[in-house]
Amino acid sequence: MEGLPPVSDGIAIELRDVVKRFGEVTAVDNVSMQIRDGEFFSMLGPSGCGKTSTLRMIAGFEFPTSGELLIHGREMGQVPPYKRPVNTVFQSYALFPHMSVERNVAFGLEMKQVPKAEIAPRVAEALEMVRLGSFGERYPRQMSGGQQQRVALARALVNRPEVLLLDEPLGALDQKLRKEMQAELKRLQSLLGITFIFVTHDQEEALTMSDRIAIMNQGKVLQIGSPTEIYERPNCRFVADFIGESNFIDGTVRHVEGNYATIETVEGIKLRGIAPRPVSTGAAATLSLRPEKIRLTPPRENGLNGQASSFPVRVEQIDYIGSDTRIVVRVNDKRTVDVWEQNTLSTLDRDAYWQPGEEAVLSYLPNNGLILTE
């Protein structure tokens, strides 16, 4: 806090080999990551994967068992929460029930001994920002969940933190309110340029809102990347499975050239795809193929260009869901593949469409298939 300005190189938060254990449980297992200034960074993963624990260490409610945690280049070590330039929006809101909305929002400024004359206008401004300008006198219990949520947001933002931590802040809201608050959060984030670290269960929420996403499982960070990277180039089977839907086809690596590799399944089908991580011939690997990246064509008709991998299938089941048609095709008695086709043509012609039992050829472009080894 004193002396030379810390060197941060545009990095708001940095974790270096952070481990957090609760007795026997390793909640956070050797996590390293850098979160940039002004970034909307999300942590996504199944329940119990260590998202909250990570966030709580950044906030200072827990201290790492080992490893380093830096905020703007300053080692946080055992620094208590009230000395950190971060604020938290809790899932349960945690508004002070014995204080009016105004006093809730003013609390942080009062604790930092901001001059009285400055507090009132800043509180008013913060409430205005979350569109609760006229609610200052109310008590939290007199407000709806969505309004309380916004008070919690104003209470954190009024302190102009360097980093705002949000732990499933929209978890308790219904679908419509959730969408509204997502837009609201995005608006505030770009307005204020504050770094947001956002924890969520909801992958769609993470994909639409984030600049970058960290996918966690069992205390480990598996992949960090932009929403497109995470979706299009998952680096392991877990990420491919967790985000969106995927077909997984196991096989053995037969051929490697550059970033591309070809696997062969037990049935002898050869499948080509891109390998995000280096693979070696003879290793076991899985082809991950998103259902919407697959083309189904009648036999003999050439679906995709010559580079495509393809194999014959039989249409088994067709589910029309309006925008898409979801088709299950059978490769042999042991294997089916899901295919989604967008209904770009008039769907009234559906009778001329695929029928169960029809023969077809399944094909995909190799840069849409991923060869994953773990």
Binding site: N87, P97, H98
Partner: protein, 288 residues
Amino acid sequence: MAEETLTRAAPTAPAAARDTPRRGFGEGALLVNAIFCYLFLYVPILILIVFSFSNSSLAGVWGGFTFDWYVKLFQNTRLMTAMGNSLYVATASMIVATVIGTLVALGMERFRFRGRQAFDVQLYMPVVIPDIVMAVMLLLFFSNAFQLLNALLGSSFRLSLTTVIMAHITFNIAFVAVVVRSSLKGFDWRLEEAAQDLGANEFNTFRHVTFPLILPGIIGGALMAFTLSLDDYVISYFTNGPGASTLPIEVFSRIVAASAPTINAVSTVIFLASLLLVSVSQLLQRRR
């Protein structure tokens, strides 16, 4: 105890009068029950108050209206001293027990530590142990401790009003801790984290968030300690010294000696005082 039941029973009456579309048998029964509860509680008190104004030297006979007994009461130095002693003991033991009991409750609720279970059980001993056992225990403790200290230091510690206060603190800590802990059960500890997150250090967090929120529980605990101390007979009797009678001891010795209507007067004064106390605390709690 009557005051306590009063505050608990209070919600029954408005519930019966609530504006519901259908008033069935259940609601009627509840109303009757409430009325009986109130009668049961207040008729004896009413009788007591009425007879405190009775111009008859027999405590239970009506002999016309008079203020005499109140005049006599305030002229009776022994009763007044005893009342003063009682108030002093109750106030002192309430203050000390409330501070310690609250801290104990906070510690027990917040931290998980080795031996917590055992500590938990031990803490509540004074609540479940019969007064007489506690009294004998404390008497034995004081006399042995004083003997030892006096022999070692040449001091002259002996039973007095101070030992009564110490004894009352001992059992009151447990009662305060129980009451405050039950109010902490519903406390959302994330509020403390939220306060710290907003820049409040431990002291400010306690002062601005934890304390105001558990204050009703603390007030409840303090009131209970005060009342328990005020009407304790057995433990006070065993641990007091010469000339350090508390009100219950004085009253009882008089009742045994001769039935004196001043007792009715003193009871009425105490009843009204406790009513005032409870009302004030209720008002304080409603304000937030």
